[in-house]
């Protein structure tokens, strides 16, 4: 389906996340509160692959990727697990790096397109200055050469060099989005993390921006994690898809498999409840409310809303089980573990 990487054969792993736990911990007036936004997530991303992360708001998607890029600040705290990147032939545990090492990785190897990234540009700096502020010192190039590179890179996202002299408010939403994509990719990073890069955009501009993001990603051969709740976007852009619910990954597999043949009841609900043009069969919403992560349900976190829930689901959290090659599901009903559970 896709062009093999430079070292064809076994795909090269760029990111490995093992049993990651990240909690928001607060203590005000002696009251301790712990919100388990990411609770035991394991995943990996190969070179030149787009990994999609789906799930509704407050399921921990954004916390997960903040932890992956180590953009964490209190009260968010990494409680357990590891995030290992493989850059330039070296494994690096991002949470064990020193500040300067982290800085040497950021932008050159790892860049981050933030949520609401239309509004991240400094409103009192011209776009050119923003490029210099963000990326110049990471590029390791003299200024004229860097600016030349920026200009040719802007052409790649179909923006004219004149956009460099504009202030952010002079650009439309789609253009600002392109500027942030250009910013995140100008140093040709090995890994891009994009958090809801197109949520605030119109459908027409969205399709265009996504196409461009994919184009740039293919051209610089980087890997990407794309977070969005929109299954339609995943179907069109991502190679593999992980579905999160209440801080845990509930299903993961090739995007086609997950969307065509969802195994977890939550995923199948997400996919079947989507209205489609040309389809007028009644669709149902899920009963109940998204769980409160400060006091998540016991056992499988989906059981209060699950149509298939049985007694075990109330007590024990289900493990991730392979149902097909590369397709993992955590559900007692649809994927009961037969043999000893694989730890990964």
């Amino acid at each position: 389906m896709r062009v093999a990487g430079p070292s064809s054969g076994a795909p090269e792993r760029v990111l490995t996340v093992r049993d990651l736990r990240a909690y928001y911990r607060t203590k005000y007036f002696g009251i301790r509160r712990e919100v388990r936004a990411v609770d035991g997530v394991s995943l990996h991303v190969d070179r030149n692959e787009i990994y999609g992360l789906a799930g509704e708001s407050s399921c921990g998607k954004t916390t997960l990727i903040k932890t992956i890029v180590r953009a964490i600040r209190p009260p968010l705290d990494v409680v357990g697990g590891s995030v290992t990147f493989h850059f330039a032939g070296r494994d690096r545990d991002i949470h064990a790096l020193s500040r300067s090492e982290l800085e040497s990785i950021r932008w050159r190897h790892l860049s981050y397109i933030l949520q609401g990234s239309m509004n991240v540009l400094n409103p009192v700096r011209r776009v050119r200055q923003s490029f210099v502020d963000f990326a110049h010192r990471h590029s390791g190039k003299p200024m004229p050469e860097f600016l030349h590179q920026v200009e040719s890179h802007l052409a790649r996202v179909r923006l004219e060099p004149a956009a460099l002299d504009a202030y952010p408010h002079e650009l439309s939403g789609g253009m600002r989005q392109r500027v942030t994509i250009a910013l995140a990719t100008v140093c040709r990073p090995d890994f891009i993390v994009a958090d809801e890069p197109t949520t605030a955009l119109d459908v027409v501009v969205q399709k265009d921006v996504l196409g461009m993001l994919r184009e740039v990603q293919q051209e610089i051969r980087s890997s990407m994690i794309l977070v969005t709740h929109d299954i339609g976007v995943h179907a069109n852009v991502t190679d593999r898809l992980g579905v999160m619910y209440a801080g845990r990954l509930v299903e993961e597999g090739r995007t086609v498999d997950v969307i065509r043949d969802p195994r977890h009841p939550y995923t199948s609900h997400l996919v079947t409840s989507l209205p489609r043009i040309g389809d007028v069969t009644p669709k149902r919403g899920l009963d109940g409310a998204p769980p409160n992560l400060a006091a998540p349900p016991t056992g499988c976190r989906f059981h209060p809303r699950c149509p298939l829930a049985m007694a075990t689901c109330h007590v024990k959290p289900p493990p991730m089980v392979d149902v097909a090659p590369g397709h993992r599901v955590a559900c007692w009903v649809t994927a009961p573990p037969e043999e000893p559970v694989t730890a990964q």
């Binding site: 509704e56 995943h234 069109n236 995007t255 669709k283 919403g285 409310a289």
Partner: protein, 293 residues
């Protein structure tokens, strides 16, 4: 009232809205809405979807229908009387009783410092003629039951204690307290979680079918518009470019802009289809750059 019965519920007649921008010397007009007409018949409740990208004038049109903005051209008649001619407070209250809004972001629609039932009680007092605590509560409870909630679940709670889906249901319940005949919903599901979105959309369907409320549903999501609406109106830069039966228009759009919108819908069924990076039939963004503001 008997004369009004025969006239259409809502008649938007060649309405335009021009905003003035710029300073004293460089004043120019921006046409947010340009010559838009539409009609909702009384007695046959329906969902009319207004579809368009941001900046196409959808929200301005909604604000004019709600009488929150005065059109600079044309007239809007509700049950035969011009809404811009409303002067007295009693007339305004009578109009608001009939026409109720639902806004995009339920987290912003409610004051975080007020318990949520406050809104229901105020609406009951001002629009439904309720007097006294028990009357407030029974009216609020009735409206909440219509959206699948009850007063017991909601009473005394603040917006931050409720999910977006619940808040949006309460916003709908609040609009229903006065038993309106028209609801104007501006992007009511775009901020609601995916798993709850369809229940809100189904609720609109139930309001139309069971309570006989007409709904103006403003959205940029073609799929939900196809799912619930009877008719659609597609807007581009203030103009209505295509309108008609929802299924017919969205199955087979005619205007180039409608075709573009239709082709930009990303469907989950596209999974596994071979894709090349440049498969989009979208023209380079340059066009939209020059048109944006």
């Amino acid at each position: 009232m008997s004369a009004a019965r025969s006239s259409p519920l809502l008649e938007v007649d060649h309405v335009g809205m021009t905003y003035a921008v710029g300073g004293l010397f460089r004043r120019r007009g921006v046409r947010a809405v340009d010559d838009v007409s539409l009609r909702l018949e009384a007695g046959s409740p329906e969902v009319l979807a207004i579809i368009g990208e941001s900046g196409s004038g959808k929200t301005t049109l909604a604000r004019m229908i709600l009488n929150l903005a005065t059109p600079t051209a044309g007239t809007i008649r509700f049950r035969g009387s011009d809404v811009t001619a409303i002067r007295s407070n009693s007339e305004r209250m009578a109009f608001m009783r009939q026409v109720q809004p639902i806004f995009q972001n339920p987290f912003e629609a409610f004051n975080p410092l007020k318990p949520i039932d406050h809104y229901l009680f105020v609406s009951a007092r001002r629009f439904a003629g309720a007097r006294g605590r028990t009357d407030f509560e029974s009216k609020a409870d009735k409206a909440l039951h219509q959206v699948g909630l009850s007063l017991a679940e909601v009473k005394g709670r603040y917006p931050h204690e409720l999910s977006g889906g619940q808040l949006q249901r309460i916003a709908i319940a609040r609009a229903l307290v006065s038993s309106p005949s028209l609801i104007v919903a501006d992007e009511p599901v775009s901020m609601v979680d995916a798993s709850l979105r369809m229940s809100i959309v189904n609720l609109f369907k139930a309001l139309r079918d069971e309570l006989g409320v007409s709904i103006v549903y403003i959205t940029h999501d073609l799929a939900t518009a196809y799912y619930i609406s009877n008719r659609v109106l597609i807007m581009q830069r203030g103009n209505a470019v295509e309108s008609g039966d929802a299924r017919a228009v969205l199955d087979n759009p005619q205007h180039p802009y409608s075709i573009l919108l239709r082709s930009a819908v990303l469907s989950p069924d596209d999974a596994g289809r071979p894709r090349s990076p440049a498969d989009s039939a979208i023209p380079p963004l340059k066009h939209s750059i020059s048109n944006a503001e």
